[in-house]
Symmetry: C2
Subunit: 176 residues, 2 copies
DNA sequence: ACCTGAACACCGTTCAAGT
DNA sequence: ACCTGAACACCGTTCAAGT
């Protein structure tokens, strides 16, 4: 006797995203997700192999959302950097998860695309990859430390951001 | 009737460090730590309020160890960057914990000292803090992404490292 | 064909009872 | 004064039994 689904994978992943942002990874329990989609925990294993796979799916959706932020910019390095930082401020837990979990190998490629194009615009195709990694590492590190509260020596964070962004642009455009 | 201690806080924290590096945060359970120091789990609560405090102590020791790496360099930005990266390679889990957990506010200050001095040497006292944050963010981001396997577009990672380091030095020494 | 209660192993934590 | 077994609440996961 067939029985209709009472929820869907999309709904489960969405509930996971919400719980993650509301209470961190520890709040993303199978029971909490199940309760949120109106089902009991064991039913989730029809949609998902285990909690780790659910976390990976949540990370993949976070990557897509971050990619959306990037796609909505003017495409300059400064615009992309600002957008990535803004995403980190709006969804700190998703941002952190992106750096710890490994989503499927395809999604990050879509995120890296805009950065790679902006870098190529600035330094040409030969150094585009290195330049993109240079910018990405700086932004990722800056936002990670910011979110972790690791900038503890006083001073203005916005100054540090503007300083870094300006130096990066100068470093990339200056003649060798 | 008094009873002698069968372990010590230092031993407990050391066991925590080892377990963390061997199997990640999930392997750092109270039972595993207890077993490693030859005691039962409830006894740990004589040394430590809860698991979170133990994690914070492990993070603090990781910060001290990282500081040791930095202190053993020539004190240049390049040397400090290389040493911090080397620490990340030797103790990836400790490195990750440093970015997620918050150790006591005093230890990071000792880590930041050498970087701040090297930055001041290069750009003068007015921009020392911003410059130090610039370098630190880049190195932190680079190593984090490296450890997470987030550099997925091929290319040589050592090239990307050298490229970034060289650009940073150029950006900091170039005239405004 | 999905959903569920019950069960199992494991975890963090508490506490009264041992020595 | 520390250590422990037992207990509790919670978690991820499995599975036979329901519909």
């Amino acid at each position: 006797v067939p029985a209709p689904e009472r929820t869907s994978l999309v709904e489960v992943v969405a509930a996971g995203c919400d719980l993650l942002e509301e209470g961190g990874p520890a709040a993303l329990t199978m029971q909490a997700v199940a309760a949120r989609v109106g089902v009991r925990a064991p039913s989730l294993y029809k949609k998902v192999r285990d909690r780790d796979e659910l976390l990976a799916l949540v990370a993949a959706r976070a990557a897509e959302d971050a990619g959306g932020h990037l796609a909505a910019t003017d495409g300059t390095l400064a615009g992309l950097a600002r957008a990535y930082r803004a995403f980190g401020h709006e969804r700190p837990e998703a941002f952190r998860l992106l750096l710890s979990a490994r989503p499927d190998p395809e999604t990050p490629r879509r995120v890296a695309g805009p950065v790679l194009r902006a870098a190529e615009e600035l330094v040409g195709p030969d150094q585009a990859l290195e330049a993109a990694r240079f910018v990405t590492a700086w932004v990722t590190g800056f936002v990670s430390m910011e979110l972790a509260g690791a900038f503890r020596l006083g001073g203005d964070l916005e100054d540090a951001w503007a300083y870094g962004l300006e130096r990066i642009q100068r470093a990339l455009t200056a003649p060798a």
